[in-house]
């Protein structure tokens, strides 16, 4: 636990000493005012999550610090989890930042708080899945830009994979493609539906990606 915490703290202090975190936070908070909907926030997240996650491991390989991190008394899981929690914290800060945009909504109207809350839960869960996938590609490559581009490509693929439903004849494939769609589950959330399978879907995606990351670190020795 202590090891995970130390990695987590180190992650946060390196984030906030580099411009990326500020850029991401400011960009997203500013953007939602214009976009106005959580749907757009979701799509934006697909391109911004890779920017947060790309440096998680690629930067360590590049700077030679991976050799330190992987020879300190830390298990692969402690490293992967500490870094992941650091990235998720940035995501939460972004989410909190966007709350500012709700102020005029509450002053000039009467929005449905539960729907908004459900949307935020979906936003955070989607972000968690994106960051876990991003961490996996960061573990796999030494180049941050490559990590970001592959992550963005994969996330966009998962987002739009639902559209393939129309081309599937078999029901099994159709429902599988639908189930894999990041967008479909997210749409449920922003409509106010917090469904178990939606929550489980994002959590399972995160868990699988994190497990693969930790396993890769173990295997690469």
């Amino acid at each position: 636990m202590r090891g995970t915490l130390a990695v987590y703290q180190k992650e946060l202090s390196t984030y906030f000493r580099s411009p990326i975190a500020y850029y991401v936070v400011v960009f997203l908070t500013g953007e939602t005012t214009m976009a106005g909907t959580l749907q757009n926030m979701g799509i934006l997240l697909l391109t911004l999550a890779p920017v947060i996650s790309m440096r998680l491991f690629s930067a360590e390989y590049g700077a030679g610090t991976a050799e330190l991190l992987l020879t300190l008394p830390l298990t692969p899981w402690q490293i992967v989890l500490g870094k992941y929690l650091g990235a998720v914290t940035i995501l939460l800060l972004i989410s909190v930042g966007t709350v500012v945009d709700l102020v005029p909504l509450y002053i000039f109207g009467t929005p449905e708080t539960t729907t908004i809350l459900a949307g935020y839960i979906g936003f955070v869960l989607l972000g968690m899945a994106c960051l876990a996938v991003g961490e996996l590609f960061s573990v796999l490559t030494h180049n941050q830009i490559v990590a970001a581009l592959i992550t963005a490509a994969v996330l966009l693929g998962f987002w739009f994979v639902g559209h393939l439903q129309d081309f599937q004849r078999s029901d099994v494939l159709r429902s599988l493609v639908g189930y894999l769609s990041f967008a479909r589950h997210f749409t449920d959330f922003i409509q106010g539906l917090v469904r178990t399978d939606g929550v489980a879907f994002y959590l399972v995606v995160s868990a699988v990606a994190l497990t693969l990351s930790a396993s890769y670190l173990q295997w690469r020795r």
Partner: protein, 323 residues
């Protein structure tokens, strides 16, 4: 009554990456309170061996044991007892020096109450006091190198692995760093790699010579010198005629070959004799030469570590099996 196990034990360790074999069947040990130097040209496998011991990579075959822990299965437990300075200082540029050291100390399990004292100790030992509050990216190369050493010293690990610890330092800093290593080595096991032979002779009790991933020899610097001295040379300066001198020298028992440079302006010859094993050869040569000519200088050349190293490397090209 059993001896305490050695701090570092390598048993027939090999490392392959795909079809390339980086380390072949290397075995050696480093005891507590011992400084062992790891000597080899660039690309000999020094860094890979260091990484195997540090747990950054795992051996393909063979066994690495550090502080009694098998690195294949208990590497995290072993890591608590290892301080490792990789060849390139593993520094987070955006952190400041004290935040960096605090991070490493915490992960190494230094208690919260002892944290400040421990950081103070290593910064003082590595002469980093002046830059404690500075961001790492602002540090000069010498400071970066010493910060890499400082993090390795945190928590007083049983085993210290230093991959070229004095690279990039100025002469005064090299002196200070060697002092730190020597101090630490009195009570801990230290393995340091270097391609500077003088460094190995100065601070190491034993020197391991590695080439093409194979361990060629491991012994004390003087032991290595003795081993090579057996085929060593006697050099002399004599005023004489070359042909006669050559014949005379070859008639001395034990002299196997004679080579000489052309005479200088004063007619002095510089001669090198290849001699056999045994004592008293210098005296026999001196007697034979001095009886007929002016002998200006005669000495048995003690091999420098440099010679030893070159000899070992030259004897076994391309990692072929030693005879």
């Amino acid at each position: 009554m059993s001896l305490p196990p050695a701090a570092i034990v390598l048993e027939s360790v090999s490392k392959r990456y795909g079809s390339r074999t980086i380390i072949r069947d290397v075995s050696f040990t480093v005891g507590h309170g011992e400084i062992v130097g790891f000597l080899g040209p660039n690309g000999a496998g020094k860094t890979t061996t260091m990484r195997l011991i540090a747990g950054f990579t795992a051996a393909t075959t063979g066994r690495v044991t550090v502080a009694g822990y098998d690195m294949a299965t208990d590497n995290v437990e072993a890591a608590r007892r290892i301080g490792y300075q990789p060849e390139r200082p593993p520094l987070y540029d955006t952190l400041d020096v004290s935040a960096y050291l605090r991070f490493v100390a915490k992960v190494k399990g230094v208690r919260r109450a002892a944290l400040a004292g421990e950081i103070e100790r290593v910064t003082a030992a590595c002469h980093l006091e002046a830059v404690v509050r500075q961001e790492i990216y602002k540090l000069s190369k010498g400071y970066r190198q010493r910060l890499g050493l400082a993090q390795a010293l945190l928590g007083s690990p049983e085993v210290l692995l230093l991959d070229e610890p004095t690279a990039g330092l100025d002469p005064a800093q090299i002196q200070e760093t060697r002092e730190v290593i020597r101090d630490f080595g009195r009570s801990h096991a230290v393995l340091l790699s270097t391609h500077i032979l003088a460094e190995a002779t100065l601070i190491c009790q034993r020197v391991a010579i590695i080439h093409h991933g194979r361990l060629l020899a491991i012994d004390s610097p003087s032991g290595l010198q003795r081993a090579i001295a057996q085929t060593n040379r006697v050099s002399l300066q004599v005023t004489a005629l070359a042909g006669e001198l050559r014949a005379e020298l070859l008639s001395v028992k034990g002299v196997t070959a004679v080579s000489m440079l052309p005479p200088d302006r004063d007619g002095q010859l510089t001669v090198e004799c290849q001699v056999d094993v045994g004592h008293g050869i210098e005296a026999a040569i001196a007697r034979a030469v001095a009886a007929r000519w002016d002998l200006h200088r005669l000495e048995r050349q003690a091999p420098t570590l440099e010679n030893i190293f070159l000899q070992y490397v030259a004897d076994r090209p391309n990692g072929s099996e030693p005879a």
